[in-house]
Structure formats: structure tokens, C-alpha cells
């Protein structure tokens, strides 16, 4: 009997849907080890206090806040991309929907953990609710993150219901009994009745519109956390739009990275096509120009006519004893290399686009470092301190270990979610048992 293309696609997810492979277990173990190592660092921090970090009275926020912005950026951009894909009904984007939803939820789970790590008195964390002051941007952020996480987690679930139903009904996969029962419960008895389709579509539409607005607002709130302070380098009206753009840029890079990993891992070449890479590479290029524009705009206005403190701040980006090298790397990874690779057709392959995406992610991580640390090292009042650790911030092993744990947790959560549903919206691609992948509009470009 000939097996339909839909069943073939489902079979590709045999691991880890029906059972986990060795490589899956090894990766899972490695990530667990990362998290475990972070926990050791956390115990150190709890026992000895924040003295074990590189943070001191001037640089009061370090890697923790940088990770916080990075992961929230990933989360919010995943949310924005997911809802834009859904609302605009871009048909070729269908195979990519679950990727955006996955890293949106995971980013919004991992990001806030770093805020907890940065708080001096974790034992008093519930004061944030007990004594909440609505004037404080932290309270805004708490509300924004919680609402967004709830919305996006709900959206992730709703978007998976059709897949759960397909898995429940499928005979080609040998899913363990306990998991089949769980998936059956999650599918909520969906069977494709017109009434069910209508309810599902409507709720997805409403959520997508809500998420589009709330995610943009929440990422702006994150920017205002800094923009509303008086410090040179932070007090900028440009900050909210720049945060949104940088987040989207890192989100598209994250999406490309996920496309590549899943395509390799599950041999999904027919579903995640080369065309998808070219289109997303094109999106990356547009955002790259946007990033270049914002970077230029940010620095040139400060440099052309400059006040005394702003001058001390901007000089650090040009000084190779300070942040010159890091600025150069940010510009190379975030602007120059992406433009060269993505503009010249000869360099444009799925592999090279993925490498660019990884470089962009690194560059944008460095960008967050440049947003936080140089500003805190440049207060209005000169520092004049004999203790070098109070003048310059250097992250300690505790902070790096916890950063590693954050990335480990990010991978772990996605791996666990993959246990219960394929990362490709199989139900949306199926038409009468056959898989139809809509083609992007400019397939002639390559």
C-alpha cells in the first residue's frame, strides 16, 4: 500500500514523538548539565550574596539584565512574527508558524528568570505584588510579561489543537499510551467540524491581534525601563522603536536558525524549502538595514554635538581599551557581514544564511551589552574609585554559568514541548492526505 505524503511527514517525527533517540537524550543531558552547573552558581550567589557577581555600585546590572533583554526580545519578536504570519495569511509561511510560537513562549519563560537572579532579596519577591506601585516601570514590566506569557502560551496551545487531533487519529506513529491519552485530552475532541473550525479560527484571530499589540507595547515598556532614566546613553526617545527593531531582527535570525536545525534534524527539505531560507534571508536583510539606520542615528546625533557626559560615553565606543572592539564586532556581525552575504546572490545559500543568522544573534547580544554596561560605567559624577571592580564591569563565572543555564533551559523547554507535538504544523499543511507547501512569491530569484 502506498503511504500518503502526509503520513510520510508524520513519520519523520517518530523521534521524539513515539520514542526518544540517543542523540536527543544526549543533547537533553548536556543541557541538563548546563542548567545544573547554573544551579551550583546560584547556590553560591544565595550563600555569599551578589558579591560573587561582577556587579558593583556603578554597574548595578550586568549579564543578567542583558540576558533578560535578549530572551524577552526573542520572545516578543516570536510573538510579533507569529501573529503577523497568521493575520496576513502569508501562505508560504505556514510551515514556520510553530517555530515562532515555540521560541516566543520559551523566550518569555527564560527571560524573567534573569530578573529573579538579579534581585538582591529573592525572599521578598512577593512584595512586588503585595506592595506594587503602578508608577514603577518594573510593575509595568511584571504586568506586561505576565499578560504576554499567558496570551502566547494560549496561542501556542490553540495553534496546536489541530495537530493534536491529527496525532490522535494517526495510525502511522507508534505513540506510547500515556502520551496518546495526554494528546487526546489536549485535542479537546477536535474533529474538523465546521463549528469547531469557526471557533478555533476566531479565537486564533482574536489572540493574534491582541498579541501583536501587547507584544509591541511590552517590548517598548522594556525599552522605557532604560529610556525613562536620566542617564546618558539611555535617556533617548529612540529606544522603544530601536528595541522593537533589534528584537525583530534577533527573532528572524532565531527563526532561520530553528528552520535550519529542524530541517537537518528531521530531513524536512520538502517542507522547509530553500525558498523559505531565501525569503527569511531577505527579511533579515531589510531588518539589517533598519539596524544599521538605528545604529547610525543613535551614535551620530550624540557625536555631532555632544554634552560632557555624553562625550565621555560616546568616546568609549571609539576607544579600543574600552568598548571599541565590541562595537566593531557588533557592526561586523550585525551589519557588514549580513549585508555582504545576503546581497550578493553567489553567497546566498541556506547554510550561509544560517551562519549569518548565528552571527546576527551574537552581534545583537553584544549590542545589548553595549546598551547596558558602558552607560552604567559613565555616571554624571566621576567615579574616582581605587577598587578596579567598581570602575569596570567584568562578569564572573557565576554570571556566565547562569547565562549558560539560561540558554540550556531555553533548549530544554523547546525539546520537552517537541515531545508532544511536531514542530511543523502538519494539520495545516495537509490537504486530502497530501502535503502541499505553498511557494514563496519570488522563487525565481535563485
Amino acid at each position: 500500500m502506498e503511504i500518503s505524503s502526509f503520513d510520510k511527514l508524520l513519520q519523520k517525527f517518530k523521534y521524539p514523538l513515539s520514542k526518544v533517540s540517543r542523540s536527543w537524550l544526549m543533547l537533553f543531558g548536556a543541557m541538563l548539565l548546563l542548567v545544573f552547573f547554573g544551579l551550583i552558581a546560584l547556590v553560591q550567589q544565595i550563600i555569599h550574596g551578589h558579591i560573587v557577581t561582577g556587579m558593583r555600585d556603578h554597574v548595578v546590572w550586568g549579564l543578567f539584565i542583558i540576558n533578560f533583554i535578549f530572551f524577552l526580545g526573542i520572545g516578543y519578536s516570536g510573538a510579533i512574527l507569529g501573529s503577523v504570519f497568521h493575520l496576513t495569511r502569508i501562505r508560504w509561511s505556514k510551515p514556520l508558524h510553530h517555530f515562532t510560537e515555540l521560541f516566543a513562549v520559551t523566550g518569555l519563560i527564560v527571560g524573567p528568570i534573569f530578573i529573579f537572579l538579579c534581585i538582591g532579596r529573592l525572599d521578598r519577591i512577593f512584595y512586588i505584588f503585595q506592595y506594587a506601585r503602578i508608577q514603577s516601570p518594573i510593575t509595568w514590566d511584571v504586568i506586561a510579561i505576565m499578560t504576554n506569557l499567558i496570551f502566547i502560551a494560549t496561542y501556542l496551545y490553540i495553534a496546536h489543537i489541530r495537530d493534536f487531533a491529527k496525532l490522535r487519529d494517526s495510525k502511522v506513529l507508534d505513540i506510547p499510551n500515556w502520551k496518546r491519552k495526554f494528546i487526546k485530552a489536549l485535542s479537546l475532541g477536535y474533529s474538523g467540524k465546521p463549528e469547531q473550525i469557526k471557533i478555533l479560527n476566531q479565537s486564533q484571530n482574536i489572540l493574534a491581534v491582541t498579541i501583536l499589540f501587547t507584544a509591541i507595547l511590552a517590548d517598548s515598556l522594556l525599552a522605557w525601563l532604560f529610556g525613562m532614566s536620566l542617564r546618558p546613553g539611555w535617556h533617548s526617545t529612540l529606544f522603544a522603536p530601536e528595541f522593537i527593531l533589534v528584537a525583530l531582527y534577533s527573532g528572524v535570525a532565531m527563526l532561520i536558525l530553528m528552520m535550519w536545525i529542524y530541517r537537518q534534524q528531521y530531513s524536512l527539505n520538502e517542507v522547509v524549502t530553500d525558498q523559505h531560507f531565501y525569503v527569511m534571508g531577505f527579511a533579515l536583510l531589510i531588518l539589517c538595514f533598519g539596524f544599521a539606520y538605528f545604529t547610525l542615528s543613535e551614535y551620530i546625533t550624540e557625536w555631532y554635538n555632544v554634552s560632557e557626559t555624553h562625550g565621555r560615553w560616546i568616546e568609549k565606543f571609539l576607544d579600543f581599551h574600552e568598548y571599541g572592539l565590541m562595537s566593531l564586532l557588533t557592526i561586523a556581525f550585525g551589519i557588514l557581514i549580513p549585508i555582504v552575504v545576503l546581497v550578493v546572490p553567489k553567497f546566498r545559500t541556506p547554510g550561509s544564511i544560517t551562519v549569518v543568522a548565528i552571527l546576527v544573534l551574537i552581534g545583537l547580544y553584544l549590542k545589548r551589552y553595549l546598551i547596558i554596561v558602558p552607560t552604567l560605567e559613565t555616571p554624571f559624577v566621576p567615579i574616582q574609585d581605587l577598587r578596579p571592580e567598581y570602575v569596570h564591569y567584568h562578569a564572573t563565572w557565576v554570571e556566565w554559568a547562569l547565562t549558560g543555564a539560561g540558554f540550556g533551559l531555553f533548549v530544554l523547554i523547546i525539546m520537552i514541548l517537541n515531545l508532544f507535538a511536531p514542530a511543523i504544523p502538519v494539520a495545516d499543511l495537509e490537504h486530502d492526505d497530501e502535503i502541499i507547501v505553498p511557494k514563496p512569491f519570488y522563487e525565481t530569484l535563485k
Binding site: V60, G120, R121, S136, F380, P382, D385
Partner: protein, 313 residues
């Protein structure tokens, strides 16, 4: 010169601790040997500083001179009718740093924790350097208070900005928000004696420090309640600091008591970084007709410390 007159807060804390311990011992006695108390002596129930109820023999009670503990509500509300201000005369400062050590002594802070700092400033190439003591400015539009998520740092009616370190969650947002780098964080368990760390903590004394929370200059409101000047003011050998009440239009540096408005007018006072709009309550008198050349402040400093000022000079 460590007598009780110079350090009333120290003595007060010692006395209260002693009282608490004493009453604790008494209560043990009353619990274990209730027959003893039943003999004709009357007992009294008292609230110990740690909040527990203790029973003490009436004959054992001796009133303490400064036993008026300010309630949490009073500490948040402020001293009625007052508007505290400080005037710092830059013409008199020679970096003697008596203010810094007095402040550290008063608040049981180690040498490397400076709530009050003295910086060397030089505004431009051709202008003269000068020493710049910097307290908390107790701004009327405080950026730190705005951002606090839990109301741990607050603005009082008498103008002071204080910290309740029993409330502080240690998010450090106030430190990032303060444009004057006033606040310090307890990155590890504070190096304070057990006697001190057991004390009842109040925003008015800022003692004891708590790990994972923020500290800063508090203008010593507990001393103001007793009608005394903050320790930095009295410790300064040159009378740099004037402290007082704007409502009374009077400030004093311990030796001279002058009209606040008149002093500002006569000496052309200004506020540091006025353009930020934080409305500081600390005014500076420009370093004109100086008592000392700025080099006097470098006397006795180690070469290492002198090197700190290389960028400035």
C-alpha cells in the same frame, strides 16, 4: 573622643539592646521561677524591640533617655513642619574627609562604603579644581523614588528621601535611576557586629544594613528629631556643611547659624546638575575666596590615590 555626647545614636542603640537583653533574661526568670515573682513584687508587660512581649519586674525598670522609638508610620511621614535643606560651602573644603569617617562611624559602615563622598572636580581646562563633598541630594523630584516597585524608598513631608531596608527587594533600579551615584548596595552580608545587626531597623537610623538591599545618606533624621545636627556637619573641621530647616529659613554648620536664603543670595548658590530637573535639596556655594588651595587635599594621600585624579587635573 568617643564619649556618649558625640555618639548618642551608638549609645542609644547599645542601651536598647541592653534593655532588650535584660528584659529577655527577666522574662526567662518569670517563666521558670514564677514563684519568685509571686512574692510581693509587681511585674509589667513590655514590648521588646524585636516585637516580642516580655514581662519585667517593675523595680528593674529604669527609663532610657532616648527610648522614643519612631513608629514605621512616623518614619515614613516625616517630622511635621520641617523642610530640611543642606548648603555645602565648596570654598572651605580641603578633603579632610572627617565627614566621611564620621558618617561611617555613625552608621557602622566599613571604610570602603561611602554614603558621603568627596570628589575632586574640574569643570573645564582653564577652570580651577575644587573638592566636592556629595551627600544624598534628597531631591524633591526624586528619580529613585519614582522607579521603586515596592515603595521601599520614599519621599517624606520634611523633604527627606529614605529607604526602608526591611521592604527593599534589592532590584537596584533606584541605583540605576539616581543620576548622582548616591546609593550603595550591600553586595554581601554587612560587616557589622552582632549587637548592631540585632537592632531594630528603622528608615530614620539606616542601621543595621541588610544584605541584598540598598543604603544611602539619610540626613540623620533621628538626630534632627532630637534637635541635633547630622554627624558630617559637626565633624567637619572647616564648617563646610550647613544643615537646617527651610521653613525656619535657618541653617547651621555647628558654629555659625545663618539665614538660609541670605546665605544662598550672598554666595551665589547653585544646585548640582540643575538641568536634570530633580530639584535637589542640597545647595552648593561656589569655591570663591577659598580657605585652602585644592592641593592641600592631596596632602597625605597615597600615590595610588593621587593617581585617581590624573584624568581630572
Amino acid at each position: 573622643m568617643e564619649n556618649s555626647k558625640d555618639h548618642p545614636r551608638r549609645d542609644f542603640i547599645k542601651l536598647t539592646v541592653a534593655a532588650a537583653c535584660g528584659s529577655a533574661i527577666c522574662s526567662c526568670k518569670t517563666n521558670n521561677e514564677s514563684t519568685l515573682t509571686a512574692a510581693d513584687e509587681e511585674t509589667m508587660q513590655l514590648l521588646a524591640p524585636d516585637g516580642s512581649l516580655v514581662e519585667v519586674l517593675k523595680s528593674q525598670i529604669t527609663p532610657l533617655p532616648d527610648s522614643e522609638l519612631v513608629t514605621g508610620m512616623q518614619a515614613r511621614h516625616g517630622i511635621p513642619g520641617k523642610k530640611f535643606v543642606m548648603v555645602i560651602d565648596l570654598a572651605r573644603c580641603k578633603n579632610a574627609r572627617a565627614c566621611v569617617s564620621a558618617c561611617q562611624k555613625m552608621h557602622y559602615q566599613p571604610e570602603d562604603k561611602e554614603w558621603l563622598q568627596v570628589k575632586l572636580m574640574k569643570d573645564s581646562e582653564n577652570t580651577a579644581p575644587y573638592w566636592f563633598p556629595k551627600t544624598c541630594f534628597h531631591c524633591d523630584n526624586p528619580p529613585c523614588v519614582k522607579v521603586c516597585p515596592v515603595d521601599a524608598t520614599f519621599k517624606r513631608e520634611d523633604g527627606l528621601v529614605l529607604i526602608d531596608n526591611e521592604r527593599c527587594i534589592g532590584c537596584k533600579f533606584c541605583m540605576a535611576a539616581c543620576p548622582y551615584s548616591t546609593r550603595v548596595f550591600n553586595w554581601e552580608e554587612p560587616d557589622q557586629s552582632e549587637e548592631i545587626s540585632m537592632c531594630h531597623s528603622s528608615p530614620e537610623t539606616s542601621v543595621p544594613s541588610k544584605v541584598g538591599t540598598v543604603d544611602k545618606c539619610d540626613f540623620c533624621p533621628d538626630m534632627a528629631r532630637r534637635g541635633e545636627l547630622p554627624d558630617c556637619v559637626t565633624a567637619c573641621p572647616n564648617g563646610v556643611f550647613y544643615f537646617g530647616d527651610a521653613n525656619e529659613d535657618t541653617v547651621s554648620n555647628g558654629t555659625d547659624t545663618v539665614r538660609f536664603k541670605k546665605l544662598l543670595e550672598d554666595r551665589g548658590a547653585y544646585r548640582y546638575l540643575e538641568e536634570l530637573g530633580t530639584e535637589p535639596r542640597v545647595y552648593y556655594l561656589p569655591p570663591t575666596d577659598r580657605m585652602f588651595p585644592y592641593e592641600r587635599g592631596l596632602d597625605g594621600l597615597s600615590d595610588e590615590k593621587k593617581a585617581l585624579y590624573d584624568d581630572i587635573l
